[in-house]
Every structure is written in structure tokens, then in C-alpha cells.
């Protein structure tokens, strides 16, 4: 069995941190993990993607049709992979838009959020989550990554428990950031569970 998670976003958002956190949690649950990072040319502001593969696998990249979940730290980046992944892929989308300069340079505005979600939703189950807002309410914008990890845990795509995630957070963040990240993780978990319950989203 293999589970493949693709994490996408904009350079500087912490795509790699999310990947490492999920990987660590899966390792805590005694799974084998392979993760690969692609940064592109830009230090900040370009498209970044990370693949996390859990299970008895060796290859750093999955088959495009075998991606189980896409975590988009930025909606447009989620949309970028919507047509390039199998329809089984569930999309967790952080509602934090970052306008690419290809739009702003022409004076164009970011497309309306509902339209983007609808486009992704055409082919995929979508769980939208305002991780940045939740992180703000926790008091630190940088913990939005743990919010998304919480949402992933709630969607039970990975065979990794909440406790495993908590341990992984403890390992990855220093004592001061650890508590904030755990609160963020739990908030993301609760938010996504409620959302799925309300919409009757059942993921196997």
C-alpha cells in the first residue's frame, strides 16, 4: 500500500515544512516515507512542490494518477494541479491568495475564491480551510502549516494518528513554538472534521 500526498504553494510559505511535518508524523506511526522537494529558480514567490510518499516505496515521485491528496497552501497553486492529478485526489485548499505578478502586472485581480474552488471541485473533493486566519487567531501566522496538517489528519487519508502528529510537532518545533503548533493542529483537525461532517464528505 502507498499513500501519496502532494503539497504545493508559493516559495516562502513553508511548503517544505508541511512536507517534513507530515513525513515525521508518518515515521512516528512506523511507516516508511520518501519525500522529494522541488524549489525552482526563485527563493520566494515561485511555485514550489513537495511529494510525500508513505508506504513500501522507493521512488521519490508518484504516478500522477496515484496522488491521494493535494494540500494547496495557496488556491491558485492548487488549481495548477487540479487537471494534472487523478480524480481520486482530495484537495485541501488554504484560502490564502497570493496574486502572481503575471496578473497584477496587467492590472488584473485575483479570480474570485468561489470560482477557483468550483473549478477544483469539478473533478475533486475539496476541503477549503482558512488556515492563515486560524493561525492568526492562534497568534502566529507561521503555524498555518500545522493547521493544514490537522486538516489532513481529520481527512484520514493517512494511517497516522493525532498522537503521532503531536509527537512529530514536538520533534520539529522548539518548546516555545510547540504549544502554538499543537493548538493550530487541533484547530485544523476540528475545523476539517466539522466541515466534512456538515457536507457529508466521506473519504475512504
Amino acid at each position: 500500500m502507498e499513500t501519496n500526498i502532494l503539497i504545493v504553494g508559493v516559495g516562502g510559505q513553508g511548503v517544505i515544512t508541511v512536507g517534513r511535518l507530515i513525513s515525521m508524523a508518518a515515521i512516528m506511526a512506523s511507516h516508511n516515507v520518501v519525500m522529494s522537494e522541488l524549489h525552482g529558480l526563485a527563493q520566494r514567490g515561485g511555485s514550489v512542490s513537495v511529494n510525500v510518499r508513505v508506504g513500501n516505496v522507493m521512488s521519490p515521485l508518484p504516478e500522477a494518477s496515484a496522488i491521494d491528496c493535494v494540500i494547496a497552501l495557496e488556491p491558485m497553486e492548487g488549481l495548477r494541479y487540479s487537471h494534472k492529478t487523478g480524480k481520486e485526489a482530495v484537495f485541501l485548499v488554504n484560502l490564502h491568495p497570493m496574486t502572481p505578478i503575471s496578473l497584477s502586472m496587467q492590472g488584473k485581480e485575483y479570480p474570485p475564491m468561489p470560482a477557483i474552488l468550483e473549478e477544483i471541485g469539478r473533478d475533486h473533493a475539496v476541503i477549503p480551510i482558512d488556515a492563515s486566519a486560524i493561525a492568526h487567531s492562534v497568534g502566529n501566522i507561521r503555524v498555518s502549516n500545522s493547521v493544514l496538517a490537522g486538516a489532513l489528519a481529520a481527512a484520514s487519508i493517512l494511517n497516522v494518528s493525532k498522537d503521532d502528529f503531536h509527537v512529530a510537532i514536538g520533534k520539529m518545533f522548539g518548546s516555545k513554538l510547540k504549544d502554538q503548533n499543537i493548538i493550530a493542529f487541533d484547530s485544523g483537525y476540528d475545523y476539517a472534521s466539522n466541515y466534512m461532517e456538515k457536507r457529508h464528505i466521506l473519504l475512504d
Binding site: 508559493v10 516562502g12 517534513r20 513525513s23 515525521m24 515515521i27 516508511n32 516515507v33 520518501v34 519525500m35 522529494s36 522537494e37 522541488l38 524549489h39 525552482g40 529558480l41 526563485a42 527563493q43 520566494r44 514567490g45 515561485g46 511555485s47 513500501n56 516505496v57 522507493m58 521512488s59 521519490p60 515521485l61 508518484p62 504516478e63 500522477a64 494518477s65 491558485m76 497553486e77 488549481l79 495548477r80 487540479s82 487537471h83 494534472k84 487523478g86 497570493m98 496574486t99 502572481p100 505578478i101 503575471s102 496578473l103 497584477s104 502586472m105 496587467q106 492590472g107 488584473k108 485581480e109 485575483y110 479570480p111 470560482a115 477557483i116 473549478e119 473533478d123 492563515s132 501566522i141
Partner: protein
């Protein structure tokens, strides 16, 4: 303890989740290296990032050398004295180091000397996807290629053993996906450094004069043939399948793709992994091929293995059907992945590939996100200003010769500055050459690190030939694109005035350039004036646009607790779109007909508040 310290301190038997490059750095420490040198280059940079962070604690000499050739010479000197030494670089860096490498191949070494190259199929961050396996043939050097992060560490140690045992440098080749792949790695204990072997003078052991090179060439051939006999087969591993007819041979990351494709799709064929790709394990290959009359070969980039294996079969008169690149089962270009490998394997085996995702049409809402300079990047201000100066001088058509670094992104809109971009340091050479054909003045851009690396000879040449060019040296006090490494102009990026920094201005003056001006790109007026002046000069003019990289500055400001908020005053903003159109800072976008600044992205550089960027000065500190 910092992340890198944890990797250094890890105890024998501990399992860590390491990047391929981190596994290599740990492997170097376990091998007991004394010296490591590099010039940073993606995808090899993290090897140096780790060693730079821990080298004092680890008790080794580590340096960011001025370029790859010097790095190799430094490592070689230490290896000649019996100390284990390593040099690592990106694939194109090996072109720079090759001059030294191909002679060191002949002289050999006493201590273990490993030369690591990280190739970049698909050119994620490179100007080409050259296959550096050919350097092993060119130099008659042994070459080892790992398939997983664990192997990256373990094979590196074996590379040192072989180098030491046969007194020959060993090439250690990774590709982007091996260097940038994380996996579980069990570490072993940290190695002891070697003792210096007393040097016997008078034998010209390390001298490449023809008479000695003649002797050494023979020795090199003997070494390689011994390695083929004794070592090469030890790097072979075979996973047996039930199918007798088909077998597959692969190396590096190609094997990982093959492995997962075969095990996932129930094609029960035998797979052979080759870890030493020069000299090839001929015995093992012949045996494997004799057992399987149909052989699939999986390798990225060139048909390196395939050509050699086909030649071997011809030589030994083995009758076998080979399916590879030469008969179009696999492509010659770009990185592989499981889909590419599965498709090739299935085509060879005449099976229907039903697993290929049919890519649907992309959404019309999708907008490109081309790589951009960071918010607050000093280069953005420099490009903006030079573009303005060219326009004012009626030189908008001037040819622009750029170079390798973050500023190569200046080629994109709205700056469009990069008619040429070839190789490290090429900006000035190209600019020198342009004047022979064109009568107008050109503009060239080079970064500080690239200037030290290979730009100085170009500038000397420009002076000698009185090249009509304005060279803008974008001095951001760091090697930014590869992840913020120091360089000769900035030995310690945390302390920009550290003693011993080498002055670019002094170099330019020393060469005899009369017009040398250092400006602050955040001060657009000042820079505009200098650039305009430089256009009137006869011969080369140098402008040093000096301002530290935004990422570096950002971290320092945060640490110091300094924080200013820039925002658009909607009363003053007329919605003219000049800021987004001409300056294109990613933190600024249009919303509701007015410009707006995303506080999460804004780097607080304040350049957009200048009247040159916003004619209405609508951007203010709040």
C-alpha cells in the same frame, strides 16, 4: 540543538530523515574527511550548507572556494598529503573544475578524494541538462551513483575507501531527485581523520609534465582495470522475478522508478541495479544478460549504459534484445518519473498502459507564476532604474548581457533584461564581443559571487579591448540563489563588514577601469544618475549596485525587532497601475481599482514609496 547539529551528533545506529545531500554530508563526516571545498550550486548546495554549519565542531577544514576549479585544487592538495578530502558541485560546475580534474585523474591521490557532481535533469535550476557520466569516460575515473539517501551515505564511504585503496579520485554522481529526496537513513559512527603521510619529494608524483603524465596514464589504466576486476561487481544488486525472459538494468534514481513500477504493476521481472557505473561490472552484466534474452535499460539523460552494454554484447557475441533509448522506448530528454518508466517498460513488453493519467484541460482561471525576485530584492530596484536610464538615453534597444544568479530572473517582464545568459561570468565576455559587431553600447549584469567566480577575466578582457559596455555588478553580499552562502566579498553574511572581505571596487580599479561607482539601488535617484553618466564613458564602466539580499536583511530586521508598515493611501492612489506594471513587486497587486500591499509578503524595503515607482507617492509608511 540546531537541525544540522543533530545530524552531526547522531549516534551509530540512529535513524534520521535526511535529504540525499545531508546524507552525503553525514557520509563525509563518517568517512573521516579532513577537507571539504565547494562552490555552491543547486542541486548540490545542501551538502555545503550542512558542512558549513558544523565544520568547526566536526574538526574539518571547510571552505566556499571562489569557484569549482579552485575548490577541487584545494581538496586535491589535502588529499595528496594522505587526508581524505571532498569537493562537490552542480553538474555545470564540473566543466569549470574539469581542467584540474582531468590532470588529477592522471596524478592520482594518496588520501581518498571524492568529486561529487549533482546533475540536473529537466534543468530545474540550470542552463542545461548535461550528463556528467561522460566525465568518467573522459577522465578514466571510477564513478559511483546512489539510488536512495541511505545509499548516498553508504556509497560515499565506499567511494572514499576505493579512492584511497587505488589512489585515484572517484566521481560521485547524483541527480536532483537523489540530492533533494528525503528518506530514512541509519547512520554509523563518525570517522577518524587520517594522518598526514610524509611527502617524498623528488618523484614528481603530482606533476603533470608530459614525461610524468606518460607514466601516469599507464598507471591510471592499471588502476581502472583492477577496480573493474575487484570492486565494480560489489556495487551490483539484483532483485529476482519469476519471469525468465525479461530483465531490466538501471542505476541511480532510474532504478527507484523501475522498482516501484515493477512491484506495483505485477510485472514479475528481474531487476539489476548498478551502483558503480564506471568501470561497469561487466561480469555481472554478462551473466544477467545471458539469463534474460530481453533486457530493458532505464537511465535518465544520455544512453550511457545502453551504449556500453550494447558494445559489450557485441564484443562477447551475446544474442540479446535490448530495449532502451536508442530504439526509442525511453526519451533522451528531461527527468524521468514513474509514468515515463512505466510507459517505456510496458511498450517494450507490449502491454497496454492503462495507468497514464489523461491530462484534462487546464482551467481558464489559471495564471502563470513565473519565478520572481523576492519582495524587497535590491535587484528589482536596479533593473527598474537601468531600464529607466536606457529609456532616458534613447538606448532602449541596447543589448543586455546577463549572468547566472537570482538576477537572471530580470529577463522576465516587466524588465526584459537578459538578451544573453550563457554561463558563469559570461556577461562581460559577451559584452566585450558585441562591440565588434555593433556600434552601440551594451549593458551587462553580474552578481558579486559570479563576478569573483569567473567574471574578473572577462572584465580584464573588456578593459584590454576597450569594450563599450556598462557593467552593473549586483552586489547583494551573498550567493543568494543557491540559498545564501558567503562569498569572497562577504565572508560572513551576518557581519557585512567582517575583516578580510575582498573589495569589488578595488578589483575594478586595479584592472584600470576609470569609471567605477558604488551606489545603493534603494536610492533610485542616485543610481539613475550614475547609470546615465556611465553611458557617456568611452570604454568599460563599472557600477556596483550594493545592497544586501532581502532575505538576509529581512532576517536581521526581524531579529532586531524593527518593523515598518507600508500601505497604499487610497486617497492618493489613482489606480494608474504604474507600480504593478513597471516595478512588479509581488507584494503589490490591484484590488478594487487601487493598488494594495500584502503585509505578509511586504519586505519593508520602501522602494515603492519613491516617486519614481509611484508618481503620486501614494505608498506611505503607516
Amino acid at each position: 540543538m540546531s537541525y544540522y547539529d543533530e545530524i552531526l551528533e547522531a549516534k551509530d545506529g540512529q535513524v534520521l530523515f535526511l535529504l540525499g545531500n545531508e546524507a552525503i554530508a553525514r557520509g563525509a563526516i563518517e568517512s573521516g574527511i579532513s577537507t571539504a571545498a565547494t562552490y555552491p550550486g543547486t542541486p548540490s548546495s545542501e551538502v555545503g550548507d550542512l558542512l558549513y554549519a558544523v565544520y568547526r565542531k566536526a574538526g574539518i577544514h571547510f571552505e566556499y572556494s571562489v569557484n569549482e576549479k579552485v575548490a577541487l585544487e584545494v581538496a586535491f592538495a589535502s588529499a595528496s598529503l594522505g587526508l581524505r578530502s571532498m569537493v562537490f558541485m552542480k553538474h555545470v560546475g564540473m566543466n569549470v573544475a574539469a581542467d584540474a580534474m582531468l590532470s588529477i585523474a592522471y596524478t592520482g591521490t594518496r588520501g581518498g578524494l571524492v568529486i561529487m557532481t549533482a546533475d540536473d535533469p529537466s534543468m530545474h535550476s540550470s542552463q542545461n541538462e548535461q550528463d556528467n557520466r561522460h566525465y568518467a569516460d573522459l577522465g578514466h575515473l571510477p564513478m559511483i551513483e546512489p539510488t536512495t539517501p541511505q545509499e548516498a551515505k553508504d556509497f560515499l564511504q565506499r567511494a572514499f575507501d576505493i579512492s584511497e585503496r587505488y589512489r585515484v579520485p572517484v566521481i560521485f554522481r547524483t541527480t536532483t531527485m537523489i540530492s533533494h529526496e528525503r528518506g530514512l537513513v541509519e547512520v554509523s559512527h563518525v570517522g577518524k581523520p587520517r594522518e598526514i603521510v610524509p611527502f617524498e619529494s623528488g618523484k614528481a608524483e603530482f606533476n603533470s609534465l608530459p614525461q610524468y603524465a606518460m607514466r601516469n596514464k599507464k598507471l591510471l589504466e592499471e588502476k581502472i582495470s583492477k577496480i573493474k576486476d575487484v570492486e565494480s561487481d560489489r556495487f551490483v544488486s539484483i532483485e529476482r522475478g519469476k519471469e525468465d525472459e525479461w530483465g531490466a538494468i538501471a542505476s541511480g534514481v532510474g532504478y527507484a522508478y523501475l522498482h516501484d513500477v515493477i512491484s506495483k504493476h505485477g510485472m514479475d521481472i528481474s531487476m539489476m541495479k548498478i551502483g558503480m557505473t564506471n568501470p561497469l561490472p561487466e561480469r555481472s552484466i554478462i551473466k544477467f544478460i545471458s539469463e534474460h534474452p530481453r533486457i530493458i535499460i532505464v537511465e535518465e539523460l544520455d544512453s550511457y549504459l545502453e551504449e556500453k552494454i550494447r558494445a559489450l554484447c557485441q564484443l562477447k557475441g551475446i544474442d540479446v534484445e535490448i530495449y532502451g533509448k536508442m530504439n526509442s522506448y525511453f526519451p533522451y530528454d528531461y527527468e524521468f518519473n514513474m509514468d515515463v518508466v512505466r510507459s517505456g517498460v510496458m511498450k517494450a513488453m507490449q502491454k497496454d498502459d492503462t495507468h497514464m493519467l489523461s491530462i484534462r484541460e487546464e482551467s481558464p482561471l489559471l495564471a502563470a507564476r513565473t519565478p520572481v525576485l523576492c519582495p524587497g530584492c535590491p535587484h528589482r530596484a536596479s533593473f527598474f532604474t537601468v531600464k529607466k536610464a536606457l529609456k532616458l538615453a534613447g538606448m532602449s534597444d541596447a543589448k543586455i548581457s546577463s549572468d547566472i544568479g537570482c538576477y537572471s530572473l530580470g529577463v522576465y517582464e516587466p524588465f526584459d533584461m537578459g538578451d544573453y545568459m550563457i554561463s558563469m561570468g559570461s556577461s562581460i565576455g559577451v559584452a566585450s564581443g558585441l562591440q565588434n559587431a555593433l556600434s552601440e553600447r551594451s549593458v551587462s549584469f553580474i552578481g558579486d559571487s559570479t563576478f569573483f567566480h569567473a567574471g574578473i577575466p572577462g572584465l580584464i578582457n573588456a578593459k584590454l579591448n576597450n569594450a563599450q559596455t556598462t557593467l552593473i555588478i549586483l552586489d547583494n553580499r551573498i550567493t543568494a540563489m543557491t540559498g545564501q552562502q558567503p562569498n569572497p566579498g562577504s565572508r560572513d553574511p551576518q557581519d557585512l563588514n567582517a575583516a578580510g572581505n575582498i573589495s569589488i571596487e578595488n578589483i575594478a580599479r586595479g584592472i584600470g577601469i576609470d569609471f567605477v561607482k558604488t551606489v545603493d539601488p534603494y536610492n533610485i535617484g542616485e543610481m539613475l544618475h550614475a547609470v546615465t553618466e556611465s553611458f557617456k564613458v568611452d570604454g568599460p564602466a563599472v557600477i556596483i549596485s550594493s545592497r544586501e539580499c532581502a532575505i538576509l536583511r529581512d532576517a536581521k530586521e526581524k531579529k532586531a525587532g524593527r518593523h515598518v508598515v507600508y500601505a497604499v493611501n487610497v486617497e492618493k492612489c489613482t489606480g494608474c497601475e504604474k507600480c504593478v506594471e513597471d516595478f512588479a513587486c509581488p507584494a503589490i497587486s490591484m484590488s478594487g481599482g487601487k493598488a494594495t500591499i500584502d503585509p505578509d509578503q511586504c519586505d519593508e524595503c520602501g522602494v515603492c514609496a519613491e516617486r519614481y515607482v509611484c508618481p503620486f507617492q501614494a505608498i506611505e509608511v503607516v
